[in-house]
Subunit: 295 residues, 2 copies
């Protein structure tokens, strides 16, 4: 009886804003019977340019809100929050917590034949080195060398060689505002992608991780620059699969065939969230409620 | 004696992040003997896409911090905070508060010969209609018509005719991330400026207000798109002049010839603030202290 109650509880999903809706979309597609509660921390978006300490504090506050709504599992659908805050949340919450980094890293390792992987993300995600660490852990943790080429300021470039894989990373700060502006395939988007990606492209990678939940919106443009030989890893799909696996393992799947209830909360500007979010989630996002979290 | 004490107190300046440094630079140039305290609310940047209520709350918290440092006057060096929060701050603070909107509007009215003014800014500033209201007030408050062409989502376009002036406004959300990325004059910056400005350019304006403190960093690119017949109004200069006028009027000028003390505070990532802020302020910004405000 108690177990049945748990199964019917919603899945909690959060992001700094609207990007995590790409993850929620995959969860809804894979598990159409699961109720969901989504929170976008739009009053404090973006997390990507903020410090580790601040992102951890925000993640804790936002996860606390979801836990208070009685969710059975929390998906951290934000790469920066996953990179900085996941360990802390796993330690302090009594329910399972799933991030987007590990599923993406695993999918990248499966996808590469050449053993050369590219990672793109926000400044925070790239600086955290989380994808590199996750891939390294999957490769037996035998790092041969770590080289950091600081091109300028915080726009860093890493080259990590393991016994199995070589990883190249690149921060792409303009991709988020481009996606939010809806400039996903125009000349500005294409030129920006060329500026950011030409370096990685020249390194012979055959798998590129879209290490930010906004980036799937720019998938066609990124694919156009990288060329047909490069597989793009959308961690949203991998994360949805990981979520199903975790729920099944704990015998917490809902089992309903559809008709799930979807709740959306934001910390600022519900109208803007709905207007822009439709591009990310598709139909089914018609209203969002304003809540105060933290501050 | 008390009066002398007041004169020696610093000027407080705040912005959501680093953009307000363009205003501080002009204040330092015009009044090299005035001590200054700058606060960038980098934990919650940007304000431009956030709601009126949230921006007012943030502005109140940040201004409260500066008041607590004993400043004699506060400059709201952020267009969005000026648009939404200035009235509230003037009501609740015992010291003078100066925003960037009115000085910019006055400078635009002086600069136009054709009577056609363009205003560019963040979503928040443009949606607030503050520049239009300020210009309208300066023109005798005789508005003939207000037309709103919603091009898409929140990217609105206004056309306001008064007896004297016609005003065209345009939100340019990508200019801030471009300025922060340091892409101020490359092909992406130029193409983005063309996308945003071609509409206004076609309306025959001869004065364009850079209604965001980040935009002076993109001045050359914006000027290149608008052409030599259009004067760019940098409200930083106008705001510095207004500040001197206000201090002189209240007999609160310091009078020292130079050697001013500059303090910088941020709510997140001091290193990033200093690294990126140098482009905005120039020499003299070597260190910033981390403080908690609000949350």
């Amino acid at each position: 009886m108690l177990s049945e109650d748990i199964n019917k509880r919603p899945i909690g999903v959060f992001d700094s804003g609207i990007g995590g809706l790409t993850v929620l979309r995959e969860i809804a597609r894979l598990m159409p019977g699961e109720d969901t509660v989504y929170l976008g921390d739009t009053a404090r978006v973006p997390y990507g340019s903020k410090s580790k300490e601040t992102v951890i504090r925000y993640s804790r506050e936002v996860a606390g809100f979801l836990a208070g709504r009685g969710v059975k599992l929390i998906v951290v659908a934000c790469n920066t929050a996953s990179a900085y805050g996941l360990g802390e949340l796993k330690k302090t919450l009594a329910i399972p917590v799933i991030g987007v980094i590990e599923p993406g890293a695993r999918a990248a390792k499966r996808a590469t034949a050449a053993g050369r992987i590219g990672i793109i993300g926000t400044e925070g995600t790239i600086r955290s080195n989380s994808y590199v660490n996750a891939i390294n852990a999957l490769s037996g943790d035998k790092t041969r060398s770590v080289t950091e080429h600081g091109e300028k300021g915080f726009d860093r470039y890493f080259e990590i060689e393991t016994d199995v894989l070589t990883v190249f990373t690149k921060a792409c700060p303009l991709f988020v505002p481009l996606a939010e502006e809806g400039w996903t395939s125009n000349d500005v988007a294409r030129l920006t992608a060329e500026h950011y990606l030409n370096g990685i492209k020249g390194r012979g990678v055959d798998a590129l991780v879209l290490g930010c939940t906004h980036y799937p919106i720019l998938k066609d443009t990124i694919a156009g620059v990288m060329g047909p030989g490069v597989k793009l890893i959308d961690s949203a799909e991998a994360t949805a699969e990981e979520t199903r696996r975790a729920l099944a393992g704990d015998d917490m799947l809902n089992g309903a065939a559809g008709g799930a209830k979807r709740e959306f909360f934001v910390t600022d500007s519900p109208e803007r969230f709905v207007a822009v979010g439709k591009r990310f989630f598709g139909p089914g996002l018609d209203t969002a409620r304003l809540v105060t979290v933290g501050a």
